[in-house]
C-alpha cells in the first residue's frame, strides 16, 4: 500500500505506524461523567466497512501525524491531511 504524506510524498505503508480511529476526541477530563467519556474514548470503536478516518504516523519519515480517509474494503485513500499543530 502507498500513502501520500503531504510533506514527504508517496511512500510505502511500511514507513507509517497505524493508530486507528481519528473520529474520536479526547474528552474534557473536567466533565461530570468523565469516567464514562474516557471509557468510550479509549475502548469503543466503530469498525466500518467502507470509508474510515484514521490516524497514521509517518514514523520513518517526517514524524507527522496524519488523518487518512481510507476505504477499509479496497484500501483506496480518499484524503490525507496533516493533523493539528503542523
Amino acid at each position: 500500500m502507498q500513502i501520500e504524506c503531504p510533506f514527504c510524498g508517496k511512500r510505502d505503508a511500511h514507513e507509517f505506524a497505524y493508530l486507528g480511529d481519528a473520529t474520536v476526541a479526547r474528552p474534557d477530563p473536567a466533565v461530570p461523567d468523565a469516567a464514562r467519556a474516557f471509557y468510550e474514548y479509549v475502548y469503543l470503536r466503530d469498525n466500518p466497512a467502507g470509508s474510515h478516518r484514521e490516524l497514521w504516523y509517518h514514523s520513518a519519515g517526517c514524524h507527522s501525524w496524519l488523518v487518512v480517509t481510507r476505504d477499509t474494503r479496497t484500501h483506496a485513500i480518499e484524503t490525507i491531511a496533516q493533523v493539528g499543530a503542523r
Partner: protein
Amino acid sequence: MTPLPQSRRLASGGLIDRSRTLSFQFDGKPMTGHPGDTLASALIANGTILAGRSFKYHRPRGILTAGSEEPNALVELRSGARREPNTKATTVELFDGLVARSQNRWPSLGFDVMSVNSLLSPIFVAGFYYKTFMWPAAFWEKLYEPLIRRAAGLGRASREPDPDSYEKAFAFCDVLVIGGGPTGLMAALSAARAGAHVILCDEDFSFGGRLLSEQFVIDGQSGADWKAAAVFELEQNPAVTLMRRTTVFGGYDQSTYGALERVGDHLPVPLPHMPRQRLWKIVAKRAVLAAGAVERQIVFGGNDRPGVMMASALRSYVNRFAAAPAQRLGLFTNNDDGWKTVADCIRAGIKVEAVIDPRPAIPEAFRQLAIQAGARLFEGGLVQDAHGTARGLQSIDVMTSTGRTESVAVDGLAVSGGWNPAVALTCHLGARPVWRDDISAFVAGDTPPGLVVAGAATGAFDLRSCLADGVRLGAEAAQAAGFTAVAPTVPAASEETLGLMPLWKVTGARTKAFVDFQNDVTAKDIVIAEREGFRSVEHLKRYTTLGMATDQGKTANVNGLAIMAALTGRSIPETGTTTFRPPYTPVAIGAFAGHHRGKHFRPTRLTPSHAWAAEQGAQFVEAGQWLRAQWFPKPGETDWLTSVNREVIAVRGAVGVCDVSTLGKIDIQGADAGTLLDRVYINGFSALPVGKVRYGAMLREDGIVMDDGTTARLAQDRYVMSTTTANAAKVMQHLEFCHQVLWPELDVQMVSVTEQWAQFSIAGPRARDTIQKLIDPMADVSNMALPYMGVTTITVCGGIPGRLFRISFSGELAYELAVPARYGDGVIRAIMSAGAEYGIVAYGTEALGVMRIEKGHPAGNELNGTATARDLGLGKLMSQKKDFIGRVMAERSGLTNPDRPSLAGFVPVNRADRLRAGAHFLGLGAHPSASNDQGYMTSVAFSPSLSHWVGLGLIKNGPNRHGERVRAYDPVRRGDIEVEICSPVFIDPEGGRLRV
C-alpha cells in the same frame, strides 16, 4: 561415461545456438544440449520422456508443458547446499554443468518401489487425510505421519545453509507491462513511443512468448524476427527497462507489484557479489497485464502418461527448441488452435498418426491438412484411454463418432482443450474472474485500479487481436500516466479462429483419469467429493487438494470445476469460480529476506564505547537493536556471576562506570514545554527549577504505566527527558501524538537526541573524586554546588562540552556524564584512567540490573503492560492538582483495588535458595492453581552485598504484607521454595549514600 548424441534433436531450425554445446547430467546420466535450451527441451532432445514420479501414487510422469504452469516435471536441481527441490524443468535455463535429479522415486526413476501406492490408492482418495487419520491420536504421530511423509512428498530440500545471497530492490515507472509476448511487446512499444517510462517483465529468459513457439508472420516477417526488431527498439530507448527472467508474482494495493528476478539462476553458481535472486517492489502509475493464456487439458484415462503433452508445448519444443517429443504423434484437440500442431509436425518431419477432434464437423481446410499429413482423422472422436509404460506411450483408445473403440499406435499425444486466460494478478486484491461462454473460460472480472488486461489474457487468443490490444492499451496506459500517445499503427498478422467446443472430461475411461497432476487428484476424487457433499468450489479444493500444489492448479482448476458442474447439474459459473492469491509462482523465502538474514537480520546499534568495550573483552547482550556490554570478565573469571559480583562490589565499595547512552533522550523546548510534561507525566514538571532533575512516570490513556525516567530542566524553556532503552521510539511517537493531535496549541519543539550524546554513569563512593579529575577547572561539583538531582553544564578532558547529571540508578553517589558521541570512546578511556587509583571497574547491564533490583527500582520486567503506577509504588507521585494522560482511567475501581498484584521485595527463607524470575506466588500449602495465584516474581538477582538472592515481584496487596511468607512456585524448573515478602529496597533504604 560419454554422453549419447541428442537423438531427438531436429536437424535444423529452433532458437538454439548449435555452435555451442552444454553438458549436463540427469539422474547421473551425462547429456548435452545447447544455449537456448531449457532443461526440459534438452531432456526431450536426448529422448528422455520420463521426468519424475507423482506425489501420492508415484506414477511415472513426463513433461506436460513448456512453461511455469508445469505440474509434472519437477526436479531437484544442483547438489549439496544448493540443492533445490520442485524446480520446474520447463523453466530451468540449461547451463554447462547442470546437475538434476528426478523426484519421488526410490530406488530409481524407472523402477519405483513406492508405485505400490497406486495399488493402495483406495486409501489415498479424496479426503483421505480427514477420514483415515482421525483416530487414535497416538497413531498419527507414530504411524501415519511418517508413512505419509515417506510415501508422498515433493523432493528433498538441502539441509545446509543457503550459500547464495538475495536482495530486494525498488523500481518506479509510468507503465509496467507484465508479459513480453506479442501483446506485451506491442504495449511496451506503444507506451514507450509516447514517452512513458516503461518496465517490461517476462518470466522467460527470452522475450517473445508464443512468437518463439509458433510459425507466425507479422508485417511479412517471421514472428521471431519481428520480436527481435521490437526488442531492439525497446533496448535503444533509455526510458525502457527490460527485465528478463522476472516473474511479476503479486499485485498489491495502490499499483504496487512484487516481482522476482532470477539474476543468477541460469549460471552454475552466481558470479562473485551477484545475488542469486532479487525481489522487486515495482510502483507503477499504470500496468498492462499481458500474461497470455495457459492451454488446458482434457481429462481421459491415462492422461498423465509420459508422452501425453499439451499441444502448444509440443509446438514449443518443435519450433523453438528443435526437439521432437514424439515420432508418431496423435493429436486430440477440441479447437482450431490445436490444428497448428499438424502443420508444424509436417514441417518438422514428425509423423502424425491420427487427429481426434470431438467436434462433429470441422473446417474443410483441416481435413485437407490431415490428408496431407497422412493422418487418420476421427471427426467426432474421443480419446478414452492412453496406454504406455514409464518409457513412453504405446497406444491410445479412440472412441469413434459411431461408438466403436479403435486402438491407434502412437508414441506421443498432443492435447488441446482450449485456453485459460492468465488472470491471476487481477484477483490478488480480491476480485473474482467471470465466466465467458463464448470461449468457455474465465476472464478478469473487476480489475484493480490502474491495471488493464490485454491480449490472450482477455480471451482474445488470435495474434491480430493481441497486437491491436497491445497498441491500444499501451497507448492508453501512457496517456493515463500523463503522456500524449502517437497515432498507433497495428502490424499486420493473419487471421486465426478458435472454434472451440468445450470438452472437459471423456466418459467411459477404463483407467485413472487425472485432473490435478501435481496433487494426484483424479476425476473419481471429484465424484467422491460430490457424493459426500463437498460441492462448493472451496470445499472441493480443500477436500481433494485440487489446485493446492506449487502449480496452483494452473492446468487443473477449470477442468475440476467443470466436472463438478456436470455432476451437480449446474453451470460452471453457478458452481463457482477459481481465484488466485500471490504468489503466481513460488518464491524462495530467501528472496523475501534479502539482505536481512544472519547477523543482518535487523540493524545493530553500537554504543559510543563499543570499540573500547570490545577491546576489554566485554560480553555483549542484545537489548532491542542495541548491543550492550553485559559484563567485563577479567582473566581467570569463568563464570558470569563471579564477574558481575566483582563489578557490583567495586561500585558499592569504590567506583564503576557504565555506558548508559542507549537510554532515550528527547530534547524538549518551547514556552509550553513544562505544560506538555505536566500532561504526559503523572507528576509535575513545570515547577521544576532550572538545574534540577526529577524522576517521572507516564501512563497510557488506559491508566497503565507506559514508561519512566528522569527529566532535567536545562533552561526556563528547555528540558531533556530520558526514557527507557526499550521505549525510546514509542515515547517519542507518544509525545508527538500528544502535541500534534491532542494539544496543537502548545508552543513545544521536540527532537530525539539519543544519538548525540555518549552518556556514562559513574557510580560509587569515589565517583566524585573520579569526576573531579576529569572536569576542566572552574567547575564546582561539590555536594553543595551540585546536590543530588542536580544538573550542570561543564567541559571535560580539556574542552569537551558536556552535561553532568547527579542522578543514580544504583543507589550510590553517582553522576551521569554526557559528552558528544564522537568523544565517547576517548572519554571512557579517560574515566578509566582517572578512576584507576580508586580501583574503578567497568560494569555492564548485569551489574546495573543487580543494583537496581537491590534498590527496588522498577524496570522493564515490572513495567509489564498491566501494572499501574500504584502497583509499582508510584501512587504518591500521581498529582491531584492537574490532568494528565491516564489519570481518569487509572481511577477505575479495578485499577485501584488494593488486592491487585503490587510491587514488593522477596528473599528466600532459606537464604541458600536461588530465586527464579517467573515463579508464581501461592499461599503456603495452597494447591497450585490459577485461582490460588497471587502474582509472580518479576526480577531476581544475587546480591553480593547481602550474600543471598533477592527478588522483586508483583503480589496481591504486596506493600501491606511485608514479613509474610509465601511459596515461589516454578514448576517449569522444578522450583518450589518459601520466600518472605519484604520492602523492595534492600540497600540503604534511607538513601543516605545518594546524598553524600
